[in-house]
């Protein structure tokens, strides 16, 4: 067990994200550019939290999606890993705790995830750039609404910003 990870509490937050995604599915539609709320929860953890907790949650999300879906491991894991890598790299140059600037990092991560998903399914950007742009804009909007809520949960999660 990784010290201070609080897997149950983190898993609760992730499951809330999955539940919200399920509830909003008829509104947000589908496809490689869709607003992926559980991924946004992971990105929030990636912005400020410990690598151990992040890896545990990412593994949990990949496992759930493999078990409850038809996707292959590459189709599930690669977009998530790409997005997380972008966040961990970008937070060295942009303040990940600034409410506005962190959205820039999120936009980059979402673009990366969508680009990887498109490459896996051979969907060219030409002709569907409006989908990609709308997806990133809606993703940033969702992050702007979701992240303040997650910030309030930080003490309960005993996250890196609120260490034990």
């Amino acid at each position: 067990m990784i010290r201070g990870v609080r897997p149950l509490r983190c898993a609760t937050v992730l499951l809330l994200g999955l539940g919200t995604q399920h509830a909003l599915a008829p509104l947000v539609g589908g496809g490689p550019d869709v607003v992926d709320l559980p991924l946004l929860v992971l990105l929030w953890f990636a912005l400020v939290d410990r690598p151990g907790r992040l890896l545990l949650l990412a593994a949990g999300l990949v496992f759930l999606r493999l078990q409850l879906g038809v996707s292959s491991i590459a189709e599930v894991a690669l977009p998530i890993l790409g997005a997380l890598l972008v966040v961990r790299l970008a937070r060295g140059g942009v303040d990940p705790r600034d409410p506005t600037r962190r959205l820039v990092i999120v936009a980059g991560a979402l673009l990366t995830a969508a680009a990887i998903a498109r490459a896996l399914w051979s969907i060219p950007l030409a002709g569907s750039s409006d989908h990609a742009a709308t997806g990133v804009l809606l993703g940033c909007l969702a992050a702007a609404l979701l992240f303040p809520l997650l910030d309030r949960l930080s003490p309960w999660l005993r996250s890196a910003t609120h260490p034990m």
């Binding site: 038809v70 996707s71 969907i123």
Partner: protein
């Protein structure tokens, strides 16, 4: 007889009366109102179930009649499709109420009243999961009568399809219908796949629209391959 002596028989008589009255309830008491009401609901429920079964059976017969003569070489398995969201929001899947025990296998085509619905992806003993024709992983060979052939795919968005490639030089125009090509594909020839919404150049950017309501609860045919179907 003193009062004390009379108490014993009196108590016995009283108990006997209670026993007789209890036994008589079974024969004499009319059916309670609650029981009668419950029976009424049971009859209503039974009637609705009979109607539901008859309606479903009629739907299945109509569907088979619709495709009669077209499904040569395929063993049709009529079943019900129900919506089932995938854990990955990028995917578009649905559930079939038939599985391996009924002869459903991965890769088999699924068709509904409006044409192509999807392809079987995963099979369990009594249910199966299909990817719908607007899922990004869906691929199908098509032809447009009088024009040419190509390959179409699902996505990029929900309720959308796109041509991946053309095998003949032709231009897709709005209103063109993409039909299945048959051959070794999981679908017989000339089933509707999608309609061209907006023809564009390059052709890969053309927008196609599959029949609406792909994941609505509906009766569908799984195109099983039986012994007689080997070609």
């Amino acid at each position: 007889m003193s009062h004390r002596d009379a108490a014993g028989p009196a108590l016995l008589c009283w108990m006997l009366l209670i026993l007789i009255a209890t036994a008589a309830q079974r024969w004499a008491a009319p059916e309670s109102r609650d029981r009668r009401e419950a029976r009424g609901y049971e009859l209503l429920q039974e009637q609705f179930l009979i109607e539901e079964r008859a309606e479903r059976e009629a739907g299945r017969r109509e569907l088979l009649d619709l495709y009669q003569g077209v499904l040569d070489g395929f063993r049709p398995i009529v079943t019900r499709l129900r919506p089932l969201p995938d854990a990955s929001p990028q995917r578009h899947t649905a559930l079939l109420e038939a599985g391996a025990e009924e002869g459903v296998r991965p890769g088999q085509g699924v068709i509904g009243r409006a044409g192509v619905v999807g392809v079987v992806a995963e099979v369990e003993p009594h249910r199966a999961r299909i990817i719908l024709s607007d899922d990004p992983a869906f691929r199908v060979r098509f032809h447009i009568p009088g024009k040419g052939r190509g390959i179409a795919a699902g996505g990029p968005g929900r309720g959308e399809m796109r041509p991946v490639t053309r095998l003949d030089p032709f231009h897709l125009e709005s209103g063109d219908l993409l039909l299945t090509r048959g051959g070794s594909s999981p679908f017989p020839r000339s089933l509707v796949i999608a309609e061209v919404v907006e023809g564009r150049i390059p052709v890969e950017t053309t927008r196609l629209s599959p029949p609406p309501g792909l994941d609505d609860t509906q009766e569908v045919i799984v195109l099983g391959v039986g012994a007689a179907a080997v070609r």
